[in-house]
Symmetry: C2
Subunit: 262 residues, 2 copies
């Protein structure tokens, strides 16, 4: 399993992914699920991926493959791939969708014969010079939806454990630093409840209209900030829970020794 989270905010983008991949408990490994393509002053594109690793790697390979763009020449530097040529974010989302369909045409039937679904999903965000900053969620069918001020974050993979804190804290106007903090709390809750989501966590933050290289951080399990956040959040939750008043009807029930309130 995987957990990826993308936020479209007034001030910029926060994109986070875990790195754990598993195919059964005896085959757990770490792979990058967050990729950044950038040309400072020109474009910043960030892609998060969830699902079958062979599929998502093949899709990324399509996006970076320059063969078909260079008259059959051998593969050149990824910076020259089709994802670096698109005129804007919608075109980039379409390109990811087309790449998914290409891989689907190539692999889906063979996967089905082995009893495997064609499972993949992506979050794509960024900005190209002269255009707006955008965030898309792209499905295995190659179609996609776009985030807006009303829906300021998308999640893919193991989404539910980490959602309650997002629902309570994040909206379009949340500052980047709070959004990043909330994203890490959301990942902490997910990793606590699902062993198949695990560190290191890859985090990327882009400031709107900067067209500058985003901040990129890989946080390992023993990262001092992550350790501190885990402890404070866990202790704080337990204290907050402890401070809540008990249900009065339960207290009165338990106080009545011998008698039972119905």
């Amino acid at each position: 399993m995987t957990y990826c989270l993308g936020m479209l905010l007034h001030d910029g983008l926060v994109m986070v992914a875990d790195t754990r991949t598993n195919a059964g408990v005896d085959h757990v490994a770490s792979f990058r699920k967050l990729r950044v393509w950038e040309e400072p002053g020109e474009r910043v594109l960030i892609l998060l991926s969830a699902g079958n690793l062979a599929i998502t790697q093949a899709v990324v390979s399509e996006l970076e493959d320059t063969v078909r763009w260079n008259d059959g020449d051998e593969r050149t530097h990824p910076d020259a791939g089709p994802i670096m040529q698109v005129p804007g974010l919608t075109a980039a989302a379409k390109l990811v969708g087309e790449a998914i369909r290409t891989i689907h045409d190539r692999d889906a039937e063979a996967l089905r014969e082995q009893g495997n679904d064609f499972s993949c999903s992506f979050l794509l965000a960024g900005q190209v010079k002269g255009g707006p900053m955008r965030l898309f969620q792209i499905y295995a069918a190659g179609n996609y939806i776009e985030a807006s001020e009303d829906t300021s974050f998308f999640q893919i993979g193991e989404t539910k454990y980490g959602r309650p804190i997002l629902d309570r804290v994040v909206d379009f106007d949340t500052p980047l630093v709070d959004a990043a903090k909330c994203a890490l709390v959301s990942f902490d809750s997910t990793m606590r409840s699902n062993l198949s989501v695990g560190p290191p966590i890859d985090l990327c933050i882009y400031r709107r209209d900067s067209l500058e290289s985003p901040i990129k951080r890989r946080l390992r399990a023993d990262d001092p900030y992550l350790v501190e956040l885990r402890k404070h959040w866990g202790d704080g939750m337990r204290q907050l829970f402890h401070d809540l008043a008990p249900p009065p009807f339960v207290e009165s029930f338990l106080d009545l020794e011998g008698t039972v309130e119905k």
Copy 2:
């Protein structure tokens, strides 16, 4: 969707279910998903159900049906049904499993022809005089697993949103009043993130070895305790989040106007 939670604790049982049933947004209704069969001093059985409502109601009907127990006589009072005759909790779990298989044999193929899964799951807990208190989770196939001191709660239905707080707070030694409070926090988080889980909430608490009628409460959306808990928990979570230190690498990134830390 549905959310049901059952806890097996040193002091007793906490069993909670929401009441919302939906078949599309224009068909949302409330149905009981928590049932109690009891004979004070003799037996207390509590059943929670999730899944296709027609299936779960048919299974309950099997458990209460007295026809086959009374030489073909007409249906008598549910208190005389087979679930009231079982000698212990394991026999009760087997009986529920058999009832599921009976309904499966009757309805599954017709459902499949209409493109519907045979979807149902149950939590069964209680105690019969002379035997131990137990909690079972029973699957659509009619087989089941039992809770123990190491796994002190089971969830069925929409389980993930409400799980993080359970993982942090509940274990076998949690007092009943705290367990009930935690269950309500878990339901609050779930209802906030998934509209298809909704109030009223049915809650039932049984004290180990009492064989007395358990406390039963139906909490509506405007229940003063639930309203207070929702507010305190929500405000407290936001305050706790606010008090967490911000990620230092994000702060330094955002402070460097014009310069970007890579």
